[in-house]
Structure formats: C-alpha cells, structure tokens
Symmetry: C2
Subunit: 173 residues, 2 copies
Amino acid sequence: MRWITFLLIVVATAVGVIVLTAPAVGQGGGEAVPIFGIKIPPGYRDWKLVSVAHEEGNLHSFAAILGNDVAIKAYRSGTLPFPDGAIIAALHYGHVPSEENNKVFGRAQSFVPGPPTNFQFMIKDSKKWATTGGWGFAHFDKDGKPGDEALLKTCAPCHAKASRDFVFTQYAP
Amino acid sequence: MRWITFLLIVVATAVGVIVLTAPAVGQGGGEAVPIFGIKIPPGYRDWKLVSVAHEEGNLHSFAAILGNDVAIKAYRSGTLPFPDGAIIAALHYGHVPSEENNKVFGRAQSFVPGPPTNFQFMIKDSKKWATTGGWGFAHFDKDGKPGDEALLKTCAPCHAKASRDFVFTQYAP
C-alpha cells in the first residue's frame, strides 16, 4: 500500500500547488497594488448591485458596479461622504454582440459581457488615504495581476472630478 | 397635551397610508401578474449579480440580471436545468449618456442607467409551470404594475428559443 500513500501525497501536493497558484480573482487575496497596498477583497463577487455602466470610445466596456454592505447602506440612505469601510467594486468586461440573442430578436441589437478585462476597487479610509480624498484605489487585470504605479497614480486625480465624494457611479434603484 | 396626542395619531396614520400605498417595487409584494399569478419577490434588489445586458434597436435598454441563492448556485456550478426555486430577475433601465462622465473623459462615450423602465422575473417550478418549460414569468412596470395577459403570453415562446433551459443570460464571472 506504500505506493498508494505516495500517490496520494503527490496528488494532494499537485492540487495544493494548483489552488495556491490559481488567479486571485474570485476568492480575493493575491498580490497587492502599488501605492495603496490593496489586495482583492474576499467575497466581492457576492456583493450587492450598485449599478451598471457602458463605455464606448476605445473601451467598448461593460461594467457591473457592486458595493459591500457599508457602501450599499450609504448609497441607499444618500450618505455623503461615504463612511470608512465602504468598498465599491467595478467589474469590467468587453461589450460584445450576442449572436444567440440577435438570432432570436431577428436583428443585431443585443450586447452582453465578453470575457472579463479588469477589476477595480475603491476603499474608504479617511485617515489612511487623506491625500486622495479618503479613498484607496486598486486595479487588477483579468488574472488578478495588480496595475502598475503609473496606472494607480491616475485614479485619484480623475475620481476627484466626480461630484459625489470621488464616486462617479450613482445607485440604480 | 390632548392635541399633541391627536397630532401624533394623525401623523402616524398619514405615514402608514404613505407606506402602504407606496409602489410595490423594492420591498416586493403588490399585485400579481395574470396567467402565472406571480408577485414581486421580496428582497430581489439584494440578490447577487448574474450579469449585465444592453439592448439597442427600439429598446435602448440597460439591464442588471440578478439571481436568488438557488439560481446563483446553479449558475456557478453549471447546473442545467435550473432547480425548482430558482428565480432570475431582470431590472431594466433606459440606456442614457452620462454628461458628467463625458465631461471628465473629454468625449461622448459613457452610458449609465436612466430611470427604471420595468422589472421581470422568471421562477422555476417544474410541476406548476410544466407547460412553459417549468418557468413562471412576470413583468412589472417601473411602478410595480403587472403586465397584461397579452404581454405575459409572449414570454415563454421567446424564452423557449434560448439554448440553456429557457434562460438567455449567462453568468459573468
């Protein structure tokens, strides 16, 4: 039976390696972004819906914007600025035609999310990130790889132009 | 102090009337749709995200598709057909340009949800709705008013054309 034990150890090790090296997207964790040191928040895909969005131009992107419980409570009660602990997630996908839907509708009118492109997070901590409006920013590509420093530096100056506490997305009822 | 008591009763009654006559959307309940007898499921706005969608043509619509826990579990595990108890919600909004975002981006590229237009639900009960693929269908306008019989009759024949158990929307990771 010794070879079975050995085989079980090999298989268990292989599974462990696969799990440990799997992309961080989904289960959270992984590598932290530069500047803000933020990792993918665990369980973000289970958060409640804030809204949806679509960018044309060079982006052709679809977004689902989700919020943790602190963020959703603030959105629903109209609380501004957002309280510490609020996290807003933007899940980005390609914006692609749905051949199946178009066939049913009899014309090209239906767009659905393509493969994921990136995931972004804003975390409110008014003391820790006082110089960037109280928000920490994070960007990860589809495989959970953090954006670089140059990219992360562009987040706060752009979000500062939003009229509601650095947040562009409004709540969709 | 008697007039204060009277005033409090008047205010409390007024609040009660306002709450009771508020649109059913959001908190669930309200009037049932014809044919399927479905009311707005309570708590649907707290459900997890399935995906997003966008229809052009005459619709110019944005959709957020949410699922109750039974539906989300089936989506994530790839279970088909969907088990009894699964509910899928489609929240529809107008697809409108965001002037604020476009000003920041420096060009017209950003689209966000306009006011809600309607809310639709599919509920799986393979015995109750055996003649319509095991699904019951519901449509409510933005104020929670149910769609009429003619509209409700169009749901199943169209959804029957979807390649995965009457469901068009696929899960966005």
